[in-house]
Amino acid sequence: MSLIESTAAQLHRQLTSGNVTSVEVTQSFLDHIQQHDEHYSAFISLNVEAALAQAEDIDRRRASGKPVGALGGLPVAVKDVICTKGQTTTCGSKMLRDFVPPYDATVVCKLKQADGVLLGKTNMDEFAMGSSTENSAFGVTHNPWDRTCVPGGSSGGAAACVAARMAPLSVGTDTGGSIRQPAAFCGVTGMKPTYGRVSRFGLVAFASSLDQIGPIAQTAEDAALLLQALAGHDPNDSTSSSKPVPDFLRAINQPLVGLKIGVIREHFGEGLDDEVAAAVREAVHTYQALGATVSDISLPHNQYAIATYYVIAPSEASSNLARYDGVHYGFRANEAEILETLKQERDTATATNQEATGKELDSELIRMYQRTRSEGFGSEVQRRIMLGVYALSEGYASKYYLKALKVRRLIRQDFDKAFEKVDLIVGPTSPTPAYPIGDKIADPLSMYLGDLYTVSANLAGIAGISIPCGFSKTGLPIGLQLQAPAFEEERLLQAAHMFQQQTDWHTKRPSLKN
């Protein structure tokens, strides 16, 4: 098997045994990216020289018998919403096109310490807002299974690069499904860990109470390897948990005995694609065959999850994105043009004697803010900011924002109750397989409704994983979502691994366009 076709675990064994060097591995992935990525746009930027230098250093250390980190020289792609010192971190936005962070995110430090080789930064929906990676200032990412389809989002580049074998491991972020849904669309394994399991320090915030960094890989075993490197307490993130991190790789090979699985009745309702439904039912049978007991459960408030999510996430986003105002970093609109426009408006106002009516024109500073933000942000980001400002504004905050926080508690309580009965909740990751590029871009609400099965895990702060469980007739992957209580990533990985021992959906690879 060629290097790029291998799983991360296989590569890791080869690296450790000295059969192959990190430089060779890194170079073959870089070659593969350079050969194919112009057709997929999975990456926004590559780290060619730095990656090879890092790989060389790891090889040197290994050769001289010095310690090598847990990732042992495996290449890792990082979503471009995670800060990398000295390397642009764009968030898929014109606003941060030239932003070079003066610091590394905690997960980037951890990856470096674990000797993961940073290949480059992956494409994404601008500021992680979107479910299709169509909202990127750096072009649409294409689904490796069908170039005319979206890869899902917002971690579209992160999932597509694993599916296309441009990286064995990839770090994504998930605010409402942004790891799990693209993993499903691209036929790879993607996990959203428990809120607080992985440090958010250096992750450019979309919705701080929902954002979580997680692994995307070919298999559950690979995801466990990467999660091990990412997870752990960080004193720089107040919301980071100090719970000890288990040994995921060791856990993964211990099969779950007496596993109780819950299937959410509400998930099999209106809007669910028949092929997806069938694949998910088949997956449930697989678990039954493995000895799991299956019961029907109800999450009665799940029907409110999308509405709740699309109040809370934009509210937080509207605040988190207030900092992009053209003052301290990032894009600033052309000041000469602003001055010229203002001058014209003033002249017109004087001519029509509008000043006498007391209508005051904005100051140049306010205009600078407005032009900068209108030109720097794409339309979906602007929509969400507007939605969030509205939901938090005077007279509406209690109706929308506060109300949503209350429903959020009800959604969490549903999960708490369900997990008293079952160990895992199983269902579809997304109502449909990947859809054609452009299909939903003009209808935001229909795009939002695609997050129906994923947002509630973020609202409740629990862990979830998406694994491949079949294909549509048109050859598009279908994802199975498993959800576990907070800090039960181990259980998720074990269950996913069990499934992947029995099935081969996760081994299927698309053939790429040259």
């Binding site: 100051s363 306010i366 900011i385 702060g461």
Partner: protein, 96 residues
Amino acid sequence: MSLSRKEIEKVSHLARLQLSDPELDAMTAQLANVVEYMETLSGLNTDDVEPLAHASDISNVLADDILKPSLSREEALANAPKRDAECYRVPAVLGD
């Protein structure tokens, strides 16, 4: 209840976004659609429910008051769209 164009204008100002007339129209239509969907929340009785702002139950994360190195001025100002040798520069702040 639907969202009026006047409200959208007010919100765009609060958000420091300058939208053209066609943009305002499109935004009004799209957001009205979404906001209408949000209205489904109103049907749910939440009188006795405490808001949940955060899924984690962590509290009292307090750091020691011990200095750590700051960025150099060059590092701090490196990303500024407009600056001089010492400071960020912006169009005049009015008021004070």
